[in-house]
Amino acid sequence: MPSEEDNLSALSPRDRQVLKEISEGQSNPKKIAEKLEIKEVSVISSAEGLAEKGLIRLDKKVEEVYALTEEGARYAEIGLPERRILEIAGADGVPISKIEDPSLKVGIGWLKKKSWAAVEAGKIKPTGEAPPGKDEEILEALHFQGQTGASAFDPEALKVLKSRGLVEPSTCKSWCFEITDAGRSFFRRSVEDSVTFRWDSISYINQITSDMIKNGNWGGKDVYYKGARHEVRPYDVTLTAERIYPGKMHPYQRLLSWMREIMLEMGFTEIKGEIVQPSYWNFDALFQPQDHPAREMQDTFYLDTKADIPDYATVKEMHERGGEVGSTGWGGTWDPEVARKEVLRTHTTSVTIKYLADHPNPPVKAFSIDRVYRREAIDPTHTPEFEQLEGVIMDENLSFANLLGVLKEFYAKMGFDEVRFRPGYFPYTEPSVEPEVYIEGLGWVELGGAGVFRREVTAPFGIDHPVLAWGLGVGRLAMLRLGLKDLRLLYQSDVGWLRDVPLSTRM
């Protein structure tokens, strides 16, 4: 049990100032921070120390607060869809078919629910009754005053707004300080007994100045300076200091950089290409039939533009009749107009095949790590854009067993010593393989895909030697290595997370 004497010396000047404010009845850290002109976090850290010593009581309150979502903020400005429809409808009403804007259409249901209008014979007829609702009041209040505690509002209306995605809750921590009896008596005694403890003791030096260094007469911790003896006030060196944060590379970028280094070490040349690709490079050059489901617009971001494509005669011939490599081809008619449609690349393979077409002579070892796009709704394990690593080797006399050898080496460098191979399927490789790595606690995890490019893919570009290819979704690896449950955190990062992930995290 430390004596009060210890308590005293352990208090920094800031602690004492904070204790003084609290003893004078100040309970809000923000106000204390403003008065003392220090940071709120500093006040809280002092207060936590004081509370530990039993000098003050510290109450943490967690309150649910609400704020407008982006959509909510918009409606706060322009009005809810149902209100806007009402404005469009006027007193005479309006045919439903006139309400074309999808963001307005959602209002039709609410009009009925709120009995502001009836829908008869395909026409919206206002009932004439549409007083401002509690929901609208809340929107306005949140718009005006920003984040507000839930208790201020009608809970039912709030619930409805939340379900419509117009407001979102979060929790807000607030602090409340109060001096304890021990703190009060400690404080009183320390004032009375100014010999052992003086609040603003001039005999103590806090900050050493340049002048003191040059002109002071220094002993152990004493200095004779400007005609008086001073003591450098000792600190409790075990106390925590204010947190500071270094600038850092993104942890995901560290993983990507590390993988780049592995590829470079293994002798691969890094390649890059355009985000916007004609379907030709993204699909057709890879022998993806033009009616393949993967090409449909529900999986791929198409643009409304068409690109010029190179001389496509050999690709067309391969799709339709199988070229001169003894393939059956897909039959049907290959349409260059379909191949001209531009897409956001769905895989880095579009860049790889173009590079191989430009470099058809062996040996080629190339890799890329870049972002690709899929038409996916965002959820914890899906994002519409993500990174892929892809490597290819083209040389004389390469075999599928060589591919397995490269994969084994690559995964070993990544820290996965146990790798096994299962048959797989990818539209443009044959044979294909799905590598699995053993991860402690998870077992065998499928990580990437690989194969030998089909002859139907390579032959049209005059590539006459086997191309070994493999790819890897890096986001998935990042989730494993960083222990993330939510892929979105990589892209919409929490600054607290970025600050806290140690640089030494083993990737």
């Binding site: 947190r243 709704a377 965002i378 599928f400």
Partner: protein, 560 residues
């Protein structure tokens, strides 16, 4: 796990899940479930997570529609487990049924293949398997019925000969699951299947129809069967029609027929009388391929004798006859994936066992070389981190609202790359600038202590071309022009470039506190104090400063 991250198109492949009942499977294969489950993945399958007592869900790849039924899986497993190897033999008995194809179907749905399968005894798993097979084939091979549609009928309810013709949409019959007669036109409007597949018949003024000798309807392909020929518990004899627009129709027929033959059905032929000549279906004769053993050894990287290669292929249910250094390979009639000899060699590798192949590093010697952009990026990253900035990697998809409107920048139509069918109003285009994403990150991080200083390096798109940008911003109560000016100066000092700094018109920043960066007379970026309206539109209430720099044009050819 994150499917969205899978490479090589894995997640957009249509994968079919087949439910295998252990008891049924054990009986068909002739092996215990333990033996089966230990090896099935090495045949080419993903085993689902289901821990059910009596069944397991297994995903097979889309190139193997013959594995979309438990019968097909059992057939493959028998080979793979060395229980029954080589080409499966199927007898086609001459049948009595004929089907006449009228030339009117030529434009709408020209191809049809048919078969009769008799003496079936349907157990529950068998019926479930047949229905699933039909659905999976519609989706996988049939491109959602457009290319291939399959009808299965109780043949005892109708009278051959049958006719396949294109009928007027006013023609009426009772469709499956209805108790009233509807015109074909109304079926497309009112029947769930009609609504679902009407688009396939869009633009045609006559619709395909199969009727019997009395004019009773078997099927309205590719939409719906007639109620009349519904398959029920005691159905024993089936008529199968497969219609479509591509010769893959005949593969689909073979897959269905051989699966039923595996269940003990007696297959009978159907005469299809077409204007261009008669054909007899089903054609269950194997396709013949010639392969060189040397080619297989070279591709796979093993060293097999012709006899050993034949054994590997027979294990995958091919027929194989040694002919010198080559093999004649007989491909089973249900295989739809053999386009090239390498497809056969992959099966040989599976038959050999992927786990028995010896991984061998290739001898290819090359020197690795980083892309010049990445070298630059790493320099820029080092400078920004040294200045105390945290790196972020925001999405490149954004909206016009965020990219332009909230930034007080006018929408520059010719610059913008919009996607045709956005999934959300937040992601309608690829960014032309990174700064908006950085302000968005500030917005979601307001509960963390200030100052916050972050940067991002990455792609932006302008006029459909990828560019390289660096953006950085700082937010705290004291953020001002002097701070960002110092950062800009430090950055360019480290890059050994002297930019010209001139007053800017960029609406994102406050007038009088904004500047453009010019290098060689060309604008490469801008910086300044964000306009309070910009800050407010992102929900921020603290001063912030920022800079954005297009750096790929700073150096000719991207190299120093």
């Amino acid at each position: 796990m994150a499917e969205g991250c899978a490479p090589l198109h894995e997640d957009v492949i249509v994968v079919s899940v087949v439910r295998l009942y252990y008891e049924d499977l054990e009986e068909m294969v002739g092996a215990s479930r333990e033996v089966i489950m230990a090896r099935i993945a090495m045949m080419g399958a993903d085993i689902g997570k289901s821990n059910e007592e009596d069944y397991v869900d297994v995903e097979f790849f889309p190139d193997r529609p013959d594995l979309y039924s438990s019968e097909g899986v059992a057939r493959a497993l028998q080979g793979f487990l060395d229980i029954k190897v080589g080409l499966p033999e199927y007898q086609v008995h001459p049948g009595e049924v004929t089907l006449k194809v009228d030339s009117s179907v030529e434009s709408v749905r020209p191809l049809i293949g048919c078969a009769v399968v008799k003496d079936l005894e349907f157990s529950d798993p068998a019926i479930e398997s047949l229905m699933d097979l039909q659905e999976d084939l519609h989706w996988g091979l049939g491109r959602n019925r457009r290319k291939v549609a399959i009808g299965v009928h109780d043949i005892s309810r109708v009278v051959p000969p049958f006719t396949y013709f294109a009928a007027d949409p006013s023609f009426e019959f009772v469709p499956l699951d209805f108790d009233e007669s509807l015109s074909m036109r109304d079926i497309l409007k009112r029947h769930p299947k009609g609504i679902g597949y009407a688009s396939i018949l869009e633009g045609f003024d006559r619709y395909p129809l199969i009727t019997d000798a009395n004019g009773d309807v078997l099927s309205f392909p590719p939409i719906i069967n007639g109620e009349l020929t519904r398959v029920v518990d005691d159905t024993r004899d089936l008529f199968i029609d497969v219609t479509g627009t591509d010769p893959v129709v005949y593969k689909a027929l073979n897959i269905v027929v051989t699966a039923l033959a595996e269940r003990g059905g007696r297959v009978e032929s159907v005469q299809v009388k077409r204007p261009e000549g008669d054909l007899t279906f089903p054609d269950l004769s194997p396709a013949r391929w010639k392969v060189e053993v040397e080619d297989a050894n070279r591709l796979i990287g093993f060293n097999l004798s012709p006899e050993d290669l034949a054994i590997c292929l027979e294990r995958m249910r091919f027929g194989a006859q040694v002919q010198g250094r080559g093999l004649e390979v007989l491909v089973p009639p249900y295989r739809a994936d053999i386009m090239h000899t390498w497809d056969i060699f992959e099966d040989a590798a599976k038959g050999y066992g992927y786990d028995k192949l010896v991984p061998t590093l290739p001898k290819t010697v090359t020197v690795g070389e980083p892309h010049p952009f990445e070298i630059r990026k790493s320099d820029l990253r080092e400078i920004m981190v040294g200045l105390g900035y945290l790196e972020t990697m925001p999405f490149t998809l954004t909206s016009e609202k965020t990219n332009f409107v909230k930034m007080r920048r006018s929408v520059q139509d010719q610059e913008v790359t919009r996607v045709l069918h956005p999934i959300s109003e937040l992601h309608t285009m690829v960014r032309t600038s990174i700064l908006p994403s950085i302000l968005e990150i500030f917005a979601i991080n307001q509960h963390h202590p200030l100052p916050q200083r972050i940067f991002a390096l990455g792609d932006v798109l302008a006029r459909g071309k990828t560019r390289q940008d660096l953006a950085a911003a700082s937010i705290h109560s004291g953020a001002d022009f002097a701070e960002v000016r110092s950062v800009v100066d430090a950055l360019f000092r480290e890059l050994s470039i002297e930019p010209e700094i001139v007053a800017s018109e960029d609406g994102a920043f406050l007038e009088g506190r904004r500047a453009d960066l010019m290098v060689n007379g060309k604008k490469v970026g801008s910086f300044g104090e964000f306009h309070p309206q910009v800050l407010r539109s992102f929900g921020l209430d603290q001063p912030a400063v920022g800079l954005e720099l297009r750096w790929d044009i700073l150096w000719p050819s991207g190299r120093s």
